[in-house]
């Protein structure tokens, strides 16, 4: 089968090809066994054909009846059952090993993806990355469970059969020996022809085949421009154009199946005619006379000689699919990760835990975009342990960038020291223990509200959870829900508003015991009354901790001890706004 999925994959590079070759090794002993077992059942085909030929010979030439052939019949039945049992065992083993390979690769992929810096993953589509782990790895299945066994059988069995037949009749053996290896050669030639033809059309083809997915993704835009009818026709026309072009390539590509059929038919017809003519003494290329048993055996084996090649041809596209999948994985993440051995798992270093407010010192800090443009430069700041300060400034001015650098999430130039230790040299676990961060877009995971809050501390007891939820004013909306804090969130659960998400994320922080709190616009989504309430809880928690808040809100800034402003990438001192009258509580 030629792939009907009309994607034309780019030429895979040698690294991917090499990785594909190594893939089967990840399956270990079972995978090797799965490749060897079908050879045994293949060998039993010889026995089966031999028994069948003997029975026919004995009955037709020798005139023996069923009764006197019962022994041979018992053998025949036994061999058939045994052969099928072994072949089935081979399939089961191949599936087992294939799943092992896929499982290991999936684990390695997840480890690699989550081991990348969050900035890297944030810049990519989560749908595409999850597709790598689920669909692309699954696309290796056919290669592992069908193509590889077929490959081994095609390489060994036709030649082995020919060698066995050699002592029986050298002409038939020679016929097999010549035609069987010729098939892959001619199929490859036809395949190359197809490849050349498709390469010439590759440009147009890849544009056409992307068309459908492309238009599906832009469906809303097309609809809003009243383009329903035109674009539906366009998709149909592109599909039809694709069909015409594909068929042009297929006309050549399918020559390979005609070649296979040509040689297989030639084999059967050649054996039949040669053996028949030998019986009729019209051909005499051998010294001894040929028995009917030997003749029938050769004829019965003729289709079997070509069967492994047929199997390989049927599964040939599995290799292309696997190659395309690995190429896609390599294109998205730059490599095809190798399975992680359990010994290589990073050891957890226990670090001395300390508590109390953290001091922070920044010296000549600069952060630039991946493009090399400086977002912030020359920032010097000394934050005493227990200080509460706000950073103000327009959107896009660099507030978030600065917080991310302080949280160790972004590369920076200059020195940042936390508790007197350079941030870059700090153990990751200790850093996470000392610093709690609320980003601008906190995430909600599938699970209940309580599960989401417990991300802060998995072992938190119900009472602690409740206190944190109350402090972040999560209970204000959660208690109105029938399931309260146990309400499921995420894809199939409740959708929270931006303000509610921020409050859940704040509750997470309240389950921890950090010395430094870095909060990026924690109250941006809230109405003034809720903002006041949330701020109240925050300041309660922040007693005895250092607090840095990036904010637009004068209400928040008014409650801080110091204020700064980012302008043109520089950090400047700013006045603390006058305190405002508390707003009346209203609906959030």
């Amino acid at each position: 089968m030629i792939p009907t999925s009309d994607r034309i994959s780019p030429a895979p590079d040698t690294a991917v090809r090499e990785r594909l070759r190594r893939l089967s090794r990840d399956g270990g002993f079972v995978a090797r066994l799965a490749l060897a077992v079908p050879l045994v059942s293949g060998a039993l085909l010889l026995v089966q054909a031999g028994l069948l030929a003997r029975i026919l010979h004995s009955a037709i030439v020798g005139g023996l009846g069923v009764a006197s052939l019962s022994g041979a019949f018992a053998w025949l039945g036994g061999v058939i059952v045994l052969r099928i049992a072994i072949a089935t065992a081979g399939e089961v083993l191949a599936a087992w090993a294939g799943e092992t390979v896929k499982l290991n690769l999936r684990r390695a992929l997840v480890t690699t993806l989550l081991g990348r810096p969050p900035v890297w993953t944030a810049a990519r589509s989560s749908g595409a990355l999850s597709g790598l782990v689920v669909e692309q790895v699954e696309a290796l299945d056919g290669y592992l469970t069908r193509y590889l066994p077929a490959m081994v059988q095609a390489a060994v069995l036709p030649l082995a059969f020919a060698v066995v037949i050699m002592p029986i009749d050298w002409v038939v053996a020679l016929l097999f020996l010549v035609t069987a290896p010729l098939i892959p050669v001619f199929m490859a030639l036809a395949g190359w022809g197809a490849e050349a033809a498709s390469r010439r059309q590759a440009d147009a083809l890849s544009r056409l085949s992307g068309y459908f997915a492309d238009r599906l993704r832009g469906l809303t835009t097309l609809k809003l421009f009243n383009r329903e009818a035109v674009e539906t026709e366009g998709v149909t026309a592109a599909s039809e154009e694709l069909r015409r072009r594909t068929m042009r390539v297929m006309r050549i590509a399918f020559l390979s199946s005609a070649v296979l059929e040509f040689f297989a038919a030639l084999g059967v017809a050649g054996v039949a005619l040669y053996v028949g003519l030998t019986f009729l003494d019209l051909v005499s290329l051998r010294g001894t006379t040929l028995t009917l048993e030997a003749g029938l055996f050769c004829l019965l084996m003729a289709p079997e000689v070509y069967q492994p090649l047929r199997l390989l041809a049927a599964n040939y596209h599995d290799r292309a699919n696997a190659m395309a999948a690995l190429t896609e994985i390599a294109a998205q993440i730059g490599e095809v990760p190798s399975p992680v051995s359990s010994a290589a798992v990073r050891p957890v270093v226990s670090s001395a835990r300390r508590s109390g407010p953290a001091g922070l010192r920044l010296a000549d800090i600069a952060v630039s975009t991946p493009g090399g443009r400086d977002v912030i430069t020359g920032i010097d700041l000394d934050i005493r342990a227990g200080d509460h300060l706000a950073i103000l400034g327009p959107s896009g001015g660099g507030k978030s960038t600065l917080l991310e650098a302080l949280a160790g999430l972004r590369e920076y130039r200059g020195q940042i020291s936390l508790d007197g230790v350079e941030l870059a040299q700090m153990d990751g676990g200790l850093l996470r223990h000392r610093v709690a961060v609320l980003g601008q877009r906190p995430s909600i995971f599938s699970g209940s509200i309580a599960d989401n809050i417990r991300l802060g501390r998995r072992t938190a007891c119900h009472a602690a959870l409740r206190v944190a939820a109350q402090r972040a004013r999560v209970t204000d909306f959660a208690d109105d829900l029938p399931l309260g804090l146990d309400t499921p969130l995420g894809e199939n659960g409740l959708g929270l508003s931006g303000g509610e998400i921020h409050r859940v994320a704040l509750a997470r922080l309240y389950l921890r015991d950090p010395g430094l709190l870095l909060l990026d616009e924690p109250t941006a989504h809230l109405d003034p009354a809720t903002e006041d309430a949330v701020l109240e809880g925050l300041l309660e928690f922040a007693v005895g901790r250092t607090l840095v808040i990036a904010t637009h809100s004068p209400r928040v800034a008014a409650r801080m001890q110091r204020c700064f402003r980012i302008a043109a990438g520089r950090l400047l001192p700013a006045p603390v706004p006058a305190a405002r009258k508390p707003a009346e509580r209203g609906a959030a």
């Binding site: 019949f73 059952v81 999850s130 038919a265 019986f279 999430l409 909600i444």
Partner: protein, 551 residues
């Protein structure tokens, strides 16, 4: 399986090509059976004959050569016609899906965040190969079974019943049992795959938080556990498949032995001649070619049925909004009014709460607010992609629910947050906004968004292919191209939803600064989280479901 019937009308459109490919596949099978059968007969007859050179060679040798030739040609033809029919089916399926999905826009919110498009494409692919890989081979096998049983009934009656029973079981019972037995492990595999996908999506979407809370290992573990369950379920699916293959092969073996037994008895009784027996036996062996593919076809059939179910589920979703039964006219002008609008994706939890504001014709107004606050919902309401639960949205005083949708879309043009650059020429990309636009108009629009110079430098200018398949534009250029497309539409009201997403601060400021001049008399509503230049008429601030005027 019932979902497959849903697609029957599409299949019947292609009856001709599908039947041709089926017929050719039957010819191929028949030629194979005939070739081996005649060979067996000829070989045995030659061994037994005493006629020597007087043996009639012509018929068998012509038969063998003829059938070989037929088989080669019909195999080639079968492949070609089968693929042609499949690709035609693909066109039909795509047209069908595309037309269906248009009624369901916006699609993303309804069907989850995982890449819906790839799933749909995969489902369509699973469905279009259904005939070629599932129905065709199963039908061929059934026909071969019936024909061979009938022939045997004439030549070797003792074997006909065994053949019919054995082959019938292989064609009907084994696939049925396979589909029934693999249902539970397949469902388990699907569930595990979805869990795995969710774990990875959670891990990627919430990566930063997981790192910050030291919870990466836990996510890795839950993804690993889902992958392990997936492997287990897949192994069970494979086991059922292997057992089904074994069953088909055992049936073939039983048929072979039974035919041989019946043949030897008939031979002893003189009801059949030796050469004919050998020919029949080899023909039976050759006919197993048809049954060998049954298991794979049955698996495909089950897969296609599952794909069909998912597609039907998508297709039968109710559209969110419908055209009014009694449409009223949309008075000319570009006024926009939201009055007491309450809307939430879940009942009882409004995103917008009694929202009210007006924008007069010709104003350039920004709506600001942090992400997730419901800014895009305002755009969706104005384009009537969703309807409010309370309150009313008006354009020039007309309630949108009474206005024909196509009229509304000619009046209001929206550039969505994720407005795409299509993999097509610049001209085609812009033409979506105004299909009949002249080159001068296209250049004017490009000029207005300051993209003309960049496009002029492309090799074929307006005809240069851009997007994924072609020359890629920078993020800023892509947004500007989408803006040009939106401006080209003759709509008097332009809505831009986060037009600067993906741009850095400098490009963002430059982009927004250009907008009031570009609007040139049209009403423009710009939804953004960015700082708004002073040249805008007004800025509305959206917070907690309501807007307030910002100074």
């Amino acid at each position: 399986m019932r979902a497959l019937l849903y697609f029957l009308p599409l299949f019947t459109k292609l009856t001709g090509p599908l039947l041709l490919s089926l017929a050719l596949s039957l010819v191929t099978l028949a030629a194979g059976i005939g070739l081996l059968g005649i060979s067996g007969w000829f070989l045995t007859a030659a061994a037994l004959t005493t006629a020597g050179a007087a043996f009639n060679l012509f018929a068998p040798s012509a038969g063998v050569r003829g059938l070989s030739f037929v088989r080669i040609l019909s195999r080639y033809g079968e492949r070609l016609t089968g693929h042609n029919a499949t690709l035609k089916l693909l066109s039909e399926l795509r047209r069908w899906l595309f037309a269906k999905l248009f009624g369901l826009v916006p699609v993303e919110r309804r069907f989850g965040r995982a890449d819906l498009v790839s799933r749909l494409v995969a489902d369509i692919d699973a469905l279009d190969t259904m005939f070629l890989l599932a129905l065709g081979p199963i039908t061929s096998a059934a026909v071969v079974g019936v024909v061979m049983s009938t022939l045997l009934a004439v030549v070797l009656p003792g074997a006909a019943v065994a053949y019919a029973l054995g082959f019938g079981s292989a064609v009907l019972l084994v696939p049925a049992a396979l589909i029934a037995l693999s249902r539970a492990p397949s469902a388990a595999a699907n569930a595990a795959a979805n869990e795995l996908r969710r774990a990875v999506l959670d891990g990627i979407d919430g990566h930063q938080d997981l790192v910050l809370f030291g919870a990466v290992a836990a996510t890795e573990a839950s993804a690993g556990a889902a992958a392990l369950r997936l492997a287990g379920a897949k192994r069970r699916v494979a086991l059922v498949g292997s057992l089904a293959t074994a069953a088909v092969q055992l049936l073939a073996g039983a048929i072979l032995v039974a035919t041989l037994l019946a043949g030897l008895e008939a031979l002893a009784a003189g009801r059949i001649e030796g050469p004919v027996l050998a020919g029949v036996l080899l023909a039976v062996v050759a006919s197993f070619e048809a049954s060998a593919v049954l298991v794979r076809s049955a698996t495909r059939l089950a897969g296609s049925a599952a794909a069909a179910e998912r597609l039907v589920a998508v297709a039968e979703t109710e559209p969110a909004v419908a055209d009014p039964a009694v449409p009223s006219d949309l008075p000319p002008g570009g006024d926009v009014e939201f009055a007491g609008v309450t809307f939430g994706y879940e009942p009882g939890r409004p995103v917008l709460h009694e929202l009210g504001f007006t924008v007069a014709t010709g104003e350039c107004v920004a709506i600001r607010g942090p992400s997730g606050v419901g800014k895009s919902t305002i755009a969706q309401l104005l384009l009537r992609l969703v309807d409010p639960q309370a309150g009313v949205v008006r354009v020039n005083g007309a309630d949108l629910r009474g206005v024909p949708l196509s009229d509304l879309r000619r009046r209001v043009a929206l550039m969505t947050q994720d407005a795409p650059v299509f993999g097509d020429s610049v001209r085609a990309n812009l033409g979506i906004g105004r299909p009949a636009a002249t080159d001068a108009e296209l250049w004017a629009a490009l000029e207005a968004v300051r993209l003309a110079d960049a496009i002029r430098q492309l090799p074929r200018a307006l005809d240069a292919v851009i997007g994924e398949a072609g020359r890629s534009l920078s993020a800023g250029q892509a947004r500007r191209l989408c803006l040009a497309r939106t401006l080209l539409s003759e709509a008097p009201i332009i809505v831009l939803d986060e037009p600067t997403s993906g741009l850095d601060a400098e490009a963002e400021a430059a982009f927004l600064a250009d907008l009031p001049a570009i609007a040139a008399g049209r009403t423009m509503i710009v939804i953004t989280h960015a700082e708004v230049p002073a040249t805008f008429s007004r800025t509305l601030s959206l917070r907690a479901g309501q807007v307030s005027e910002q100074s």
